[in-house]
Structures are given as structure tokens and as C-alpha cells.
């Protein structure tokens, strides 16, 4: 049953990603992108990372894509005249060949039987924390435990980064005269 779900959600994610790349309309592309993100969240659920699946839906499919849609509608890029949506034939051919080569590389590298195939161990809800590291659990409590012990410094740096990004956005998007600077 779970195997079928894996194939279904992988297909949904990949097809939505390809549609996002190929559709000429940017708004349709953003909608396909939301589907791709939700498909990835479903794959996270299959990998028993429930907290990350929720974060993926809330942050990526929610906040980030809403921001993208706002900007697409604000700039109204689809109505702009002049620029053709795709590049010339040579660039299209080169991009397609590069994509095919990369896809073949991925498929041939990971589908052979020579790679080690680790077996899935059963996860527990809330195991003991041992000193070598935090074992994989399904509870979000282990997230908090790791964030405030092993990953304390990156956690603080991430908070500072968010502050810096907020100030940066205010500075960049502030309206000023072109002749002034």
C-alpha cells in the first residue's frame, strides 16, 4: 500500500514540476509549483517526517508561493510585450540535452544493484536520547531538543538571518529616486 502511495506521489510531484517548467503562463506555473510542494510534503509523510511535512505545507506551499503569486500579479509580467517566453532554438536544444544527460546520470547511478540498500528500522514515538546524537523519531519534541542542544548556534544564526533578511527587504524595496543615487 505504502509502495503504491510512493509511486503515486512521486509521479504527481515530477509531473507538476515538469508542467511548472514548461507552461508559458507564470501564474499557472506557480499553481503547478504548489502541487509539487504538496507532493513533496506527502513524500515527507511517507518518510515519517511529519513535522517537516507540516512545515513544508505551511512555509513553502503557503507563505512562499503566496509571495510568488503576489509578485507575479504585481508585476503583471504575462502582459508585457517584447520578450519571447522561450529562448532561441540552440538554447532549447542545449537545455534539453543537458536535462536528459542529468536524468540518465541520476537513473543509472541510483538504480543499479551495486549500491547499498539500507533497511528501514521501526521508529518509536519518543525514545531515550543517547549521547551520540538524537535518534530518528516521529515526535516534534526531538526537534526542540536538538535545536536547543546540538544545533544551538545554527538556530541563533538562523534567527539573526531572518532579522537581516527583513531589514534587507525593507531597504531594497524602499522607493527612492533614480537620479538621487
Amino acid at each position: 500500500m505504502l509502495d503504491i502511495l510512493f509511486y503515486v506521489f512521486s509521479a504527481i510531484t515530477l509531473i507538476a514540476a515538469v508542467l511548472m517548467v514548461l507552461t508559458p503562463n507564470a501564474v499557472n506555473g506557480a499553481m503547478c509549483m504548489i502541487v509539487a510542494f504538496i507532493g513533496t510534503a506527502a513524500l515527507f509523510v511517507l518518510l515519517e517526517a511529519y513535522f517537516l511535512a507540516v512545515i513544508q505545507v505551511v512555509v513553502y506551499a503557503g507563505a512562499v508561493m503566496v509571495l510568488f503569486l503576489f509578485i507575479i500579479m504585481l508585476l503583471d509580467v504575462d502582459k508585457g510585450e517584447g520578450a519571447t517566453e522561450y529562448k532561441d532554438k540552440l538554447t532549447i536544444g542545449a537545455a534539453a540535452i543537458g536535462f536528459l544527460l542529468l536524468a540518465m546520470l541520476v537513473c543509472s547511478a541510483f538504480s543499479g544493484s551495486h549500491l547499498p540498500e539500507p533497511v528501514l528500522t521501526a521508529v518509536t514515538e519518543n525514545p531515550e536520547v543517547f549521547n551520540g546524537g538524537v535518534p530518528f523519531t516521529t515526535s516534534s519534541k526531538s526537534f526542540g531538543y536538538s535545536l536547543f542542544t546540538k544545533y544551538m548556534l545554527p538556530f541563533q544564526v538562523a534567527g539573526f538571518l531572518l532579522l537581516a533578511a527583513m531589514i534587507g527587504v525593507i531597504v531594497v524595496s524602499k522607493k527612492h529616486d533614480v537620479a538621487e543615487d
Binding site: D3, A17, A49, V77, Y86, V106, S111, L120, L161
Partner: protein
């Protein structure tokens, strides 16, 4: 679940390849930026798969930080694109070629 780690890695690799195709193929800066997000997403999927099959929580924590950085990066990048549009009246990369001549 009998699906192995390599199947997840194939999906993540193909997602990354599709994102690369979008970056090289498209003209619209916003679509290029969405393709970059797709590549980040593919890396996240590989991280979670490794974390689950390895039995440790570190990959999941790393994905948590990647999502944080990506959110900050999207906000800042879109602000830059809006500032660029104000100045040049276009977001198509073939018209933003002031450095190529």
C-alpha cells in the same frame, strides 16, 4: 514500506534535473526563481530520505534550517526582482543584458 533509499534518491535527482531545466530554459526571472526553489526542494527530499534510512535526526534538522534560509532568501530575492522591475521595466533575462555588451 519496501521502497528503498535509492528510489527516493532517483526522485530527488529527477526533481533537481527538472529545476535545472527550468533555470536554463526560461526567460522569466520569476519562473527561474521558482525553479531554484524546486532544486532546493529536491535536496530537502534527499536529506529527509537519508535521515530516515540512517536512523538519525540530523538530516531532518538540516532540512529545517534549509527551509528557514529559503524563506528569507525568497523574501529578499523577490524584493530585488521588484526593484529591478522598477528600474528596467522588465523581468525577462534577455532584456537584462546590460553586462553582456
Amino acid at each position: 514500506m519496501t521502497v528503498g533509499l535509492n528510489a527516493f534518491l532517483i526522485v530527488a535527482g529527477l526533481l533537481f534535473a527538472v529545476g535545472l531545466l527550468g533555470v536554463t530554459l526560461r526567460q522569466n526571472t520569476l519562473v527561474i526563481y521558482m525553479s531554484l526553489e524546486l532544486m532546493l526542494n529536491a535536496v530537502n527530499l534527499a536529506f529527509v530520505a537519508f535521515s530516515r534510512y540512517n536512523g538519525t535526526m540530523d538530516g531532518n534538522l538540516f532540512v529545517f534550517f534549509i527551509i528557514t534560509v529559503a524563506a528569507a532568501e525568497v523574501a529578499l530575492g523577490l524584493a530585488i526582482i521588484v526593484a529591478l522591475f522598477r528600474r528596467r521595466q522588465s523581468v525577462m533575462v534577455d532584456q537584462l543584458n546590460a553586462l553582456s555588451h
